[in-house]
């Protein structure tokens, strides 16, 4: 008998929210390899497969590289596929991330943001996922466990629509191991929202085709052009998927989310769980009469440049909080935002802050410090290290 797990409130961790999302999406082939802090995602999925809650094949491979390769085989054969990983596991997949995107396979994966070694760390930062920026994977950064679950379902919707893979990203421990009450949507509603995967082409002996054969220079570039077009389309599809999701489930997230931003003189830009902390700080500062607001970036690839431009161009100063670092340049979100604004006629000064690497807490006082710094300085700086011991 299938236990009833849907249409109810439940207190679950971020990791288990991922598992419930994959179950509700009725994934057919899962392949994964253990890595902290991801492992609980696939542990629960193993349970779901074992007790019949989820009818799926789970291939317990010998590496993350193989996990992604298995899903590439499975998705090419018409199955809805899922995996989860972190840090070194994601890095090991790198070659196959390109393969999945180039093959236009709508694989969905959860990456639990974990700092890269050496030195070893299991705690959160975004360098693992952002290192995969140019592989052709969509990337969506989540703030809460409810958003995590909902994003898994939305991700399939968009990925299958535009034939590009999607990665949802959540902070290690702060989200992955923290339990929150969330609503587990009703399965029938999810089925209505997300019909079974029907690919245009798949490996089929009745319709034999060759997938991924050598592409000479006269066709390769067109295939890359089409991938970029698919990413452009995905901006519209994320908005549409979010809209239709809200109609059915009453929740929406946007590609970006401004918070108390309308008359703000300073806008703080965040992603992931830091956003929740920042909301609190913004409320406090607003109560003190300071005109500060927040912009959460949820969808990072495709980058919603137009939306970001519109949201930021009328403010006086922008402070970007990056929990990542591109060595020799600075925070990666800051770079993206500068790049998006450069061709705009209105370009507010942008302050780039790096904080919280390797899981160091980003507390309300850290966020206050960032806003105070931005307020008290006229000239923007590309890279300001927050709280680093020199």
């Amino acid at each position: 008998m299938t236990p009833t797990l849907t249409g109810t409130k439940k207190v679950v961790t971020g990791n288990h929210a991922v598992s419930y999302g994959a179950m509700l999406a009725r994934v057919q082939v899962i392949s994964a390899y253990p890595i902290t802090p991801q492992t609980q995602v696939v542990e629960l999925l193993s349970e779901f497969c074992a007790n019949g809650t989820l009818r799926a094949k789970f291939i317990k491979v010998e590496s993350e590289h193989s996990a992604m390769a298995a899903l590439i085989g499975a998705a090419s054969t018409g199955a809805r596929t899922f995996t989860a990983t972190s840090a070194h596991g994601l890095a090991l997949m790198h070659e196959m991330l390109h393969w999945a995107a180039g093959a236009r396979l709508p694989i969905v994966m959860a990456d639990i943001n974990r700092a890269m070694g050496p030195p070893w760390s299991v705690w959160t930062d975004q360098n693992d996922s952002l290192s995969q920026r140019d592989t052709g994977w969509m990337q969506v950064y989540c703030e809460s466990n409810q958003e995590v679950l909902d994003t898994v379902i939305q991700a399939y919707r968009v990925a299958e629509k535009v034939s590009m893979p999607a990665m949802l990203v959540l902070d290690a421990f702060v989200l992955s191991h923290t339990a929150e009450p969330i609503e587990i949507p009703d399965q029938s509603l999810v089925d209505e929202y997300l019909p079974p995967y029907r690919p245009l082409y798949k490996l089929d002996p009745n319709d034999p085709r060759s997938f991924g054969a050598l592409a000479p220079p006269d066709v390769y570039m067109e295939l890359r052009y089409k991938m970029h077009q698919a990413m452009e389309d995905a901006l519209i599809e994320w908005a549409r998927a979010d809209e239709e999701f809200s109609e059915l489930f009453g929740r929406r997230y946007g590609l970006i989310e401004p918070y108390r931003a309308d008359d703000a003189e300073i806008l703080l830009v965040t992603s992931g769980t830091v956003t929740s902390t920042a909301r609190e700080v913004i409320d406090e500062l607003r109560a003190e009469g300071r005109r500060v607001g927040l912009l959460k970036i949820r969808v990072f690839r495709p980058f919603p440049a137009q939306l970001v431009r519109a949201a930021l161009q009328d403010t006086e100063k922008v402070a970007v909080l990056d929990r990542n670092i591109s060595f020799g340049m600075g925070g990666i979100f800051a770079q993206e935002i500068k790049s998006a604004l450069y061709n705009s006629t209105k370009r507010p000064p942008i302050f780039g802050f790096v904080a919280g690497l390797g899981g160091r807490d980003i507390t309300p006082s850290v966020i206050r410090e960032i806003i105070d710094y931005t307020e008290s300085h006229d000239e923007p700086e590309d890279l300001i290290w927050v709280g680093v011991k020199r």
Binding site: I59, K60, T77, P205, F211
Partner: protein
């Protein structure tokens, strides 16, 4: 005279891009005759990446998934899982990899698939070096052979990796060696593999005239000599235990020099070198006979 019947169906077109005398091309032709049209081929980086033809062509009449170098067995596992969950347990999933993709870079994922006993046929067509990139040594390159990365002054100093022993150690239901000059044996083994559930591994010696520095018309002869000199005996192993020797049956064997002297890759060998090679062959042959005896 040998009498046997080949399945008439051709699932490989004549317009492929193999070199003249390519053992790998002939091996694919025979294997597909045995596997039949309800087959999906999974192809990692190897000579066959080219032989199959560039977009939008294919020299195969079965579906073909190109995948990364080290992923043949696991991508095939994924194809198998997707077929199974969609209710298709009949279609044969055939991973087709070269020696580099099997002995070296693909060994980890192959070991994983074998350990999980994935229901696939994995065929390694072994031309004994990285031929597609221009003849670099692999773990399958024989002792003292020349390649572009083992030049004549420092030919390969290690014997060929015993991939069959590795696969047999996984206790998979079926492992066998075969080669293109024994098409009846090769076809029978593929048909046998098809009838068994689990991971089936075939190690197929596929002479490469350009890489072996031999005339293309000698490909079949070299394949036969490899068997007759016991360089590449044909045998089967069931469940990691039961060994059956198929060829060579003749005693005594031809000296290995008969095989080596036709190939430019061995033209630098001294008499002592040939003796050292003969010793390795004898040792491996005796081990094989022992395994056959012990399991009968």
């Amino acid at each position: 005279m040998r009498n046997f019947t080949l399945p008439a169906e051709e699932l490989m077109g004549s317009g492929h891009l193999g070199c003249q005398g390519c053992g790998g091309a002939l091996a694919m032709r025979y294997v597909l005759k045995a596997a039949g049209d309800n087959t999906i081929v999974v192809l990692p980086a190897c000579c066959w990446t080219i032989i199959a033809g560039p977009f939008p062509y294919s020299s195969l009449k079965v579906p073909l998934l190109h995948t990364a170098f080290e992923t043949a067995a696991v991508a095939a596992s994924g194809v198998r899982a997707a077929l199974d969950i969609q209710g298709d347990t009949e279609t044969t999933v055939l991973a087709w990899a070269g020696d580099g993709g099997t002995f070296d870079i693909g060994l980890q994922s192959l070991s994983g698939a074998a350990e999980r006993n994935e229901n696939i046929i994995y065929i390694c067509y072994d031309n004994e070096a990285y031929m597609n990139t221009g003849i670099q040594r692999s773990g399958a390159t024989p002792f003292l052979a020349w390649t572009t990365t083992t030049p004549e002054k420092t030919p390969k100093s290690e014997p060929k990796k015993d991939i069959m022993a590795i696969m047999v150690a996984h206790r998979i239901p079926y492992a066998a060696t075969a080669t293109i000059s024994y098409p009846d044996d090769l076809i029978r083994k593929v048909q046998r593999a098809k009838s068994i559930y689990g991971t089936k591994f075939l190690h197929v010696l596929a002479p490469c005239p350009p890489g072996w520095r031999a005339p293309s018309e000698l490909a079949i002869k070299l394949s036969r000599l490899a068997v007759h000199t016991r360089v590449f005996p044909l045998y089967e192993v069931e469940n990691g235990e039961r060994y059956t020797l198929n060829e060579p049956k003749e005693e005594p064997a031809l000296p290995v020099s008969e095989y080596l002297k036709l190939q430019g890759r061995f033209s630098h060998l001294t008499e002592n070198d040939v003796e050292a090679i003969q010793e390795i062959i004898e040792k491996r042959w005796q081990r094989l006979l022992r395994m056959v005896r012990e399991s009968s």
